[in-house]
Amino acid sequence: MNKSAGSPFLRRLGRSPSAVAGLIIITFYVVVALFATWLAPYSAAGQNPKDRLQSPNSRYWVGTDEFGRDIFSRLMFGATNSLTVALISVSLAFAGGTLIGTISGYVGGWTDNVIMRLVDLMFAFPALLLALAIAAALGPGLRNTVIAIAVVYLPIFARVARGSVLLLKGLEFVEASRSLGVGHVRMIFRHILPNAIAPSLVQLSLAFSWAILTEAALSFLGLGTIPPNPSWGSMLSDSRTMMELAPWMAVAPGLAIMFCVLGFNLLGDGVRDILDPHLHLGKTPQ
C-alpha cells in the first residue's frame, strides 16, 4: 500500500459505503460536465422543429422538447452549467468564509464581535430568500447566480472555521509555536488554518448540494441561468406548459438534480461519520 492510500482519512472514506456511493455518483457527473461537448450526441441549443416533442426513443434517449432540442444533450450541458456554478460559488464561500472566520476567531476582541454580529445577521434570513433577493437585485446570469449563492453560504463557513479556531487557540501546540516566536501571519496560515479546515470539509459537501439545488431553484424561477443556456431548473420550468404532451420533459431534469444532490449528500454523510466522533454509534445491544 502506498503512502497516500495509507492516509487514515482516505482509508476510512473508502470503507464508508455512503461516501463511496456518493463519490461514484459525483465522479459520473463531473465526467459528464467536463466532457459534455464531446459526449453529448447533439448540441445544447440546436433546434430541430421536425422532431419536436418526441417521446424517448433510440435517436433521442430522453426525448425532445418543444423546439426539437435533444433533452439528453441538454441535461449533459446542464451538468456543466450546474457544477460550474456550484464549484465557483462554493470555492468563493469556502475560501472567504474560512479566512474571515479564522481571522475573527484568532484576533478576537471587537473585530471578532463585529464580524460575528454580521454573520449572525446573514443567518437572520431564510437562505433561499436571501439568495433570491440578491439574484433579483443583480439580475439573472451565471456570475450573479454565483454571487448570490456564495454570499449566502459564506457565513456558514465563517462560523464553522471560527469555532474550530477558538478551540485550537487554547491548545498546547499553538502556545508552543508562539513561545518559539512564530508571528501571527505564519501562525494563522501554517498552524491554525490547516487544522481548522477539517470541520469545514463536512460543510463542503453539503454546500455543493445546496448550491446545486439553489441554482436549479433560481433558474426555475427565471432568476438564474439565462435561456437558451441549458439549466436543469429552467428546463423543469419550461416543462410545465408542455406537461401533458411531454411528461418526459419534467421527469428527466428532476432526476438529474436529484441524483446530483444525492451524490453530494451521501459523500457528506460519509465524511461526517468519519470526522464527527460524536455521531459514532456503536452496535445497539438488541
Partner: protein, 317 residues
C-alpha cells in the same frame, strides 16, 4: 424564565435593524436609474421631471438619510405603494400572509407526523428492511427539489385523476375549510417532504444515541423491556434535538413556500414577491422581503423560547 425572555427580546432590536439595513442595501444593488426602475421603462421622462421625481422620493439625499426616512416610515407601517396596483404594500402583504403561514404550518405538521414515527421505527428496527426503507425515504426527501415534486404532483393529479389542484381561486380557511384544505394539502406535502426527511434523520440518530447511553443500559439491567426503555426513558431525551431542529428549520419553510406557491399558483407572499420581481415593483419586493425576514426572526425567537421551556439549562446560561 422571565429574565431569559426579556434578554432574548432585547436582542431582537439590533437584529431587526440589521435586517432592515441589509434589505435596504440589497435593493440599492439594482443597477440603473432608480426612477426608471420605479415607474418602469415605458415612460420617458425629461431630465427636469426625473429630477423632480428624485426629490419627491428623497433620492437626492445621501444613502444614510434615505435609509432613515425609509425606516421611520416603515416602523409606522408605511412600506410605500405598489407601483403596479397602487395599493399600500403593507395591505397587500397582510392580504397574502395567511395563506403562506397556513402553508408553512400544515407542511410542518406533515413533516412532524411523518418524520418522527419513521425515524423511531428506523432506529428501533435498526439495520432491517424497514430501517433501510426509512433511510432511503430520508435520502430521497432531501435530494428531491420541491419544485420538481410539485410539478410531478400536478401532472399526476391532472392526468391520472383529472383534478386540477389550482383550478379556481383560492378559498380562505374561514370560508370553506374543506375546500381550503383540498387546495393546501398538496402544496404542503411538497413543502414538507424535505423537512420530514430531516426530522426523520434527526429522530433516528438521536434515539440510537440515547439507546446506547448508560442510563438505558441500567434500565435494561433493571429488567425493563426494550419497549419500556424506549418509551419510558429514551424517547423523551431523543426528542430534544428533534425539537431543536424543528425550531431551527421552521423559518426555512417561509423560504421554501415561495417556490411551492409559484409551482401551485397559490396567491401567497411568495407569489407576491416573484410577481413584484418580474414587474420590477421594487417597493413591493422590498416590503415583502423585509416582512418575510421579520417573520423568520420571530419564528426563531418563538423556537428559542419553546426550547428554553423544555430545556431549563438554556435559561440559566
Amino acid at each position: 424564565m422571565r429574565n431569559y425572555v426579556f434578554k432574548r427580546l432585547l436582542t431582537l432590536i439590533p437584529t431587526l435593524l440589521g435586517i432592515s439595513v441589509i434589505v435596504f442595501l440589497v435593493m440599492r444593488l439594482i443597477p440603473g436609474d432608480t426612477i426608471s426602475a420605479m415607474i418602469g421603462t415605458q415612460f420617458k421622462l425629461t431630465e427636469a421631471q426625473a429630477e423632480a421625481m428624485r426629490r419627491y422620493y428623497g433620492l437626492d439625499k445621501s444613502l444614510p438619510e434615505q435609509y432613515g426616512l425609509w425606516l421611520s416610515a416603515a416602523v409606522q407601517g408605511d412600506l410605500g405603494y405598489s407601483v403596479r396596483t397602487g395599493q399600500p404594500v403593507l395591505s397587500e402583504i397582510i392580504r397574502r400572509y395567511p395563506l403562506t403561514m397556513e402553508l408553512a404550518l400544515v407542511a410542518m405538521a406533515i413533516a412532524v407526523a411523518v418524520g418522527i414515527p419513521v425515524g423511531l421505527v428506523s432506529a428501533i428496527q435498526r439495520d432491517t428492511v424497514l430501517d433501510y426503507a426509512g433511510r432511503l425515504f430520508a435520502l430521497a426527501g432531501l435530494a428531491i427539489p420541491g419544485f420538481w415534486m410539485g410539478t410531478l404532483i400536478i401532472y399526476g393529479l391532472s392526468v391520472y385523476l383529472h383534478i386540477l389542484p389550482n383550478s379556481g381561486a383560492y378559498v380562505e380557511f374561514a370560508i370553506d375549510p374543506a375546500e381550503n384544505l383540498k387546495q393546501i394539502i398538496f402544496p404542503a406535502l411538497t413543502l414538507g417532504l424535505a423537512f420530514s426527511a430531516a426530522v426523520m434523520r434527526t429522530t433516528r440518530s438521536a434515539l440510537l444515541e440515547e439507546l446506547n447511553k448508560d442510563y438505558a443500559r441500567t434500565a435494561r439491567a433493571k429488567g425493563h423491556t426494550e419497549r419500556g426503555v424506549i418509551l419510558r426513558h429514551c424517547l423523551k431525551n431523543a426528542l430534544i434535538p428533534v425539537i431543536t431542529l424543528i425550531g431551527l428549520e421552521a423559518g426555512y419553510l417561509l423560504g421554501g413556500a415561495i417556490i411551492v406557491e409559484e409551482v401551485f399558483a397559490l396567491p401567497g407572499l411568495g407569489r407576491l414577491l416573484l410577481n413584484g420581481i418580474n414587474q420590477r415593483d421594487y417597493a413591493l419586493v422590498q416590503g415583502v422581503i423585509l416582512f418575510i425576514a421579520f417573520s423568520f426572526v420571530v419564528v426563531n425567537l418563538l423556537a428559542d423560547l419553546a426550547y428554553a421551556v423544555i430545556n431549563p439549562r438554556v435559561r440559566y446560561e
